[in-house]
Symmetry: C2
Subunit: 310 residues, 2 copies
Amino acid sequence: MAERFDEDSLRAVGVRIDAEHPEGIIFDPHQPQLRVTDLAAVRGDGIFETMLVKDGHVRKFPAHLERLQRSAKITGIGIPPAESWQAAVARGLDEFRTRSGLPEELSIRLTASRGVDGEPASEDSSFAGTYWVLLTPVPESVQASRGAAISVTLLDRGYDAAAAERAPWLLLGAKTLSYAVNMAALRWAKEHGHDDVIFTSSDGQVLEGPISTVLLGSRDGNGQVHLHTPSPEVGILPGTTQATIYRAAEAAGWTTSAGPVTVAELKQAQFLWLTGSVKLVSPIAQVDELEFTTDPEITHKLLEFLSQEG
Amino acid sequence: MAERFDEDSLRAVGVRIDAEHPEGIIFDPHQPQLRVTDLAAVRGDGIFETMLVKDGHVRKFPAHLERLQRSAKITGIGIPPAESWQAAVARGLDEFRTRSGLPEELSIRLTASRGVDGEPASEDSSFAGTYWVLLTPVPESVQASRGAAISVTLLDRGYDAAAAERAPWLLLGAKTLSYAVNMAALRWAKEHGHDDVIFTSSDGQVLEGPISTVLLGSRDGNGQVHLHTPSPEVGILPGTTQATIYRAAEAAGWTTSAGPVTVAELKQAQFLWLTGSVKLVSPIAQVDELEFTTDPEITHKLLEFLSQEG
């Protein structure tokens, strides 16, 4: 049974998943929901995904569930089956529909924590942790900022590009809740007059943004567009937005590739973007002191590729 | 006013600090206390300290508050003044005294999160986040394990020793809630037959344990003991337990030093320990395949140094 909401709470809807509610149960995210002994809050020991809902359709839901499962495997956190997440998301969307109408856009965050320290919530490892879905309307400012040119700063992530393969305990391929460094890097960028960050490895490889994927592009004399992105082997997340763009771009006759990108190569790129599930596509007009041309036509096309999918 | 506890809950006591309760208010840690939008749970965006209470006395309280302030400064998280934390801890201890009697030993965790995303709890930056103290009896198994020899594995932390100085956004000197990697390293160690971990830098420097400080020791022909520890410049936390040991050791006529330690030097050490606030002192009998002699007399003395302080 749904708890009562005050009107204000319709800004966000929460859905908890547990062994007794494998299809989710609504909660008010403005009320306390987690114990302070939950490992999400104790040690950032959990994993997550963020997805976009546009006009009631969840974009790239299978890709996000797949990446959540990948994070779960790397971290050894048991998670509910895909059907549970799907049912919980559907329940959350219904709650919006019933109570205030569905906003044009929602951001949905799936979170799985390892659970309460020393007290598994269930003997079934798929429900031993703490699981919730949070649905939040996408602010108009975020919607309006899509496709707008940004300035980024290159920041050293501290790791070399081989660390992921050498040291699996660094969890480099998992999207964990331990994001304090990602947030600190974004704060650093803003304090230094930039909008976002591109992380580099200590040995000069381009990695990813704190919450985005890096995309390089070029257009030859015949107007043929080629896209390139750093490959996940360097210890970064496989980008679900970049993957969707690639599928549509290839269908449109563009060429694509993934592989190592050095900082020098980044600086010589013709066009650059950051891509992400909610902000979608941000053309980069500046990397530290270096200015870049943006190509509104390609950017528009990239946004179109993403809207085709949903 | 204190909330009601069921008897079971006396296993732990929580004290929340906020602008309206600068001296803390008791809560039941077995009940939900945090919103899912609290940045502690969203992104491991907070800081903490763990302290030991023995016979009602909080050990090294000033050193822990100092280190919490250091973490707060590095991360830009506002925290309540020292008096608030002191009052909240006193309130938590009183709660134990009143309700079930004070256990011989308690572990106390101070946690400060950046607060609820986009909704500061107070205009006063010292109370803008979410703050709580958690008091938990120390399990007998932990008490019994003190001074017992352990086996550790060396694991690469991925960073080189200069990363901390070069890249402040990595927050390497702060004790943040983003501890997923520390926990993953400990799980890795246990899966491979070890009790604990010593992190090394990618360029071969000895760093620290995931939740402890590394201590090297030697005894010369005259019985003179010398202690050595890696210095914080390599991006590790200053050890409060190690600092207490050093003060007492120097007073006892031992010599001490801090500085870089290579993996080769670690392997040639005469004696090794991990030190921490709750487990105190663990002599190391094995580093991966390499066996070490332990010196029960020195270990006993180290434990004695720590008990002098409280």
